[in-house]
Amino acid sequence: MTSSNDVPVPTQRMEERLYTNRYLVDEGHPHVRLRRRAIDSDELKSLVRLCPAGCYSKVERGRVELSLDGCMECGTCRVVCQATGEIEWSYPRGGFGVAFKFG
């Protein structure tokens, strides 16, 4: 199988990619939360590359940080981290979150 090193890094920044999407942000009510453990699991770390909206990033001292701005509510992180218990996932309150124009 091809490894990630063989595949060129995308030229487009995630903000540009998500720029045309429409969101209704529910300020103060994040629908996904991290339940941190002493050390981030490999599953959680993998989301830095797996989340299709780039919501997960690695910050100082290697900890994973979550920013829900571009979340498309696909459920990838929920499925990947279901065993580790590090992610608390619910749908946004009715009407909030991503609103697809074309789907």
Binding site: T11, M72, E73, V80, F100, K101, F102, G103
Partner: protein, 435 residues
Amino acid sequence: MSQHFDAIVVGAGPAGNAAAYVMAKAGLSVLQIERGETAGAKNVQGAILYADALERIIPEFRDEAPLERHVVEQRVWLLDERSHTGMHYRSDAFNEDRPNRYTILRAPFDQWFASKVREAGAVQITDTTVTGLVRDDDNRVIGVETDRDGAPLLADVVVLGEGVNGLVGRRAGLRPELDPAHVALAVKETIFLSEEVVQERFNLEGEDDGVVIELMGDVSAGMVGTGFLYTNRESISLGVGCLLANFQETQIPAYVLLDRLKAHPSVAPLIRDGETREYVAHLIPEGGYDAIPRLAGDGWLVVGDAGQFVNSAHREGSNLAMTTGRLAAETVVALKHEGLACSAAHLARYRQALEQSFVMKDMRKYRRLPGILHNNKHLLTTYPRAISQAMQSFLRVDDVDKRAKERRMLGQFRQARGGWRHIFMDALKMARAWR
């Protein structure tokens, strides 16, 4: 709201809309609940609409539904890094009064379908997330709770059309969690061009004719997955999806695959100067027959993606969603007319109806396919590359004699798979998966 309904439908995708429409049309009191600000706001698909499934629910849909183009040509492309080997099938017979397949955009399409549900007499509330099921002392499902203030909403039966990532049934223990090996992550861009440019680039006669391209091989970078390119009226839907377990193994971001595809020399000219107006991601249930969960119980039914109804071999899903929604609804309507309760025993008729329909027959036919593809990733990489090499040496005219070329081509095939025995076994496995 203390009203009691005959049925509550969770979700306004193809499955939920089909179920709600059929029940409302038959005179049942139906409440449909959708978490998006409109139906379709949370829904993602390629998207191809298979007319037959919808025609059985709304025969005159072609007069009203927002359809993009009907499909006059199907292409299958095997990609390697710089080439594609293609099979094209185009027929004027597809230019019929009642075409069989259309490209659609799900957001406007679902809004239209949901408007038909309201016309049929159902009560529809959007902007509302169902948070859980309500049960009675005997553990029967009798309604739902939502994130709105007020008492629980009650009904004789709850139809769960909540999609692949649906949380209500899962948290209530009605079905197991998704397995990364049995679910694909797909990403897509909707790329806008003018109608005329779409027609020129795909050799189309008019604004209603369309082309579908299914992409295999290098598009998935060695993972189990495929890509697609669909022509809409004034846009192109371009996407790629692979098993989530494979993404975990390779750590390739899905959007990187999409960017590679956009840059592929066979694809780039088709989308040149297009403007991407949306980027979406979605999970697709790929577990097949063996992943289908329990489909009915006391006071509840599950339809569509929530029930894993996707035939990945034929890229069918929305038709299975509509058909499962319709058959679930017809089961409930029949029980009402007979004065029977929506108990697990009576709702088992839904499963029987599915078994008699193409839905379960097709799901069962491809039962082995998910396992075979997952354990034989080379099927999607080695062969496309070997075929491309063979085409290259076949088409290039030089001073090598033809017999030597044939020997080289056969040798490359054998070498690619490490011997004829492996190639024979691959063919046997695929034949058995298709049997």
